[in-house]
């Protein structure tokens, strides 16, 4: 990558001084005459000198780059998180390098390796569905490497996390359906490996229990794949086989909710009159479908910001070895739209 990049040496040669003088002059170090400082700065300006970040990384063992491990960018929620991350990172002079795992553990492992090779200063992680063992993270954390988990946080000790109150979000959504007069509420659950799936399920169960409603275990239906087609098929089968079909659906994400909505509509049932539906995450499309989908909004941008701020703090305080475990929980907001209002 030549580009005829101007280096500190070029400036030194031109001015007949040493590279050390140039370096110090540019940084306004004491012990350099104002005259020299001015000359150096002027020439640097004129030649469009920009320090070589790679050389700096090598010298300082610090790259001012953070790595982000994310399942998928297409996931609307994650794309908003990314924006939050970039915002804080850039504002503090850090770069962001991003890797999608596509929900594959293998990809997660190899991405982390290459990122480490590139001397990232810290890691922001939302792990894949396949990740059930966290040794690759604990190993790093034992070496005092800064890691912050967001959204999908592992169920292990001494981690720093930013997450959302999935329990309460699910609780609120279910409670809302109950208050609307729906009696038989099923839950389309997320992948079992993800703690967030469990928390949402728990919120659903707790809401039913608090309102003296029967909890039918058969009405908690896992959707491990997470596509719209999957929930479409599941819902269709369920509603067809049951003359006493459920009258409401709380889905652990909007994609599943949308699939379910298509299914019930196709069966001639009306939303929200016959079936109420609430989703989770408030995807971009949720307000555009018919009827508009009620959903639990997660503060993605804020999550990105918070997680990054914490990571940068850890990075800058690196010396003071152990940082305490900490979990920030952000609150969700139930957006009631037409799909759940009788």
């Amino acid at each position: 990558m030549k580009l005829g990049q101007v280096t500190i040496k070029d400036i030194a040669r031109e001015l007949n001084v040493s590279t050390s003088t140039v370096s110090r002059a540019l940084k306004d170090y004491p012990g350099i005459s104002d005259d020299t400082k001015k000359k150096v700065k002027d020439l640097a300006e004129k030649l469009h000198y920009r320090p070589n970040a790679v050389a700096l990384s090598l010298r300082k063992s610090k790259s001012f780059t953070i790595g982000v491990i994310i399942p998928e960018v297409v996931h609307f929620f994650f794309s908003t998180v990314i924006s939050g991350i970039e915002e804080i990172a850039y504002a503090n002079g850090y770069n962001v390098i991003l890797c999608q795992t596509n929900e594959k553990l293998q990809r997660e492992l190899s991405s982390i390796e290459t990122m480490l090779d590139n001397q990232i200063d810290g890691l922001l992680v939302s792990f894949s569905k396949e990740t059930e063992n966290f040794d690759h993270f604990t190993k790093l954390m034992e070496q005092n490497f800064p890691i912050v988990f967001f959204d999908r946080v592992p169920d292990i000790e001494n981690t720093v996390n930013v997450t959302v109150n999935d329990f309460k979000g699910a609780y609120d959504a279910t409670k809302h359906l109950i208050e609307q007069g729906y009696k038989n509420i099923i839950h389309l659950a997320g992948p079992k490996t993800l703690p967030i799936s469990a928390k949402r399920k728990d919120g659903y169960k707790q809401a039913l229990q608090d309102h003296q409603m029967i909890l039918n275990p058969e009405w908690i239906i896992p959707c491990p794949i997470g596509t719209q087609e999957e929930s479409y098929e599941i819902t269709k089968t369920l509603f067809k086989s049951n003359e006493n079909h459920p009258d409401a659906i709380f889905a652990s994400n909007d994609i599943a909710a949308a699939g379910a909505m298509m299914a019930v509509k196709e069966l001639g049932l009306k939303v929200p009159e016959d079936v109420g539906i609430v989703g989770f995450s408030n995807w971009q499309f949720s307000s555009m479908i018919d009827p508009p989908l009620s959903s639990v909004e997660q503060p993605g941008f804020e999550m990105g910001e918070k997680a990054t701020a914490m990571l940068l703090e850890m990075i800058e305080k690196k010396k003071e070895s152990n940082w305490e475990a900490k979990t920030i929980v952000l609150e969700t907001e139930l957006l009631v739209r037409k799909s759940s209002q009788k």
Copy 2:
């Protein structure tokens, strides 16, 4: 970023050889005895030695990293392009560093600067809406720095591009509406600064012309912001004020189409009976709204793959100075759904 990273020196010290020997042994260079090679490799394995990518970058003036400049990741189409880019890049041992411009020129400029500071080997660009001057790119290209433009390609000379046949996509969509019997087709156009907007508009115009239909310039309505709300308002106003309202809409993207659909539905008009609608880009939600939206599918993943493959080729052939200008045009596919079938 210490991490107690093992270096080539650690291996050298342990084995009482020089670092040069270790380096050569690891790379299977000639002139090192099989015995030494084995010892070095075994120890490297045992200590989990991994070469320091930063040191390599500095030494070789090559970072095996490519930069990607993209308007927004939330944009469904772009997120699929990213996947295509990562696919090819990783397969060839390259890293990807990604920056969103959020459609801001300032962000575009500063992102490029920091990426260059980090010694990227090449750049993949889809520029922002605000970018009307391309000097920051031409300056780099004059210095023989590898750049490939994708989707949004600049209207300047000697560039390497991957784009989609926007003209034909728009032409096909409009033709389809005509063949369905719609008579008064309006066009919700994209931001004027983007060449793709112009091409889509041209395709629309050509289709009307080829079918002896009147081209009413007032029915080409710009949507410079690109939000759903904008097209919603525009459509509502237009349809309300005209008792002789149009009977079809070709929108330059699905978001605008969705907004328009909401507007006409709210006015009591039926889609597709009263108004036919076709969008562009085939967003994730397009098949989920009611009625499902017809749209022009763009091969995003393939675009990412092609662009990256071309960029890597340019990088590896760097020495042979000038690469020829080239534009790959990928074909679109019209997905006919319910929103446009009378």
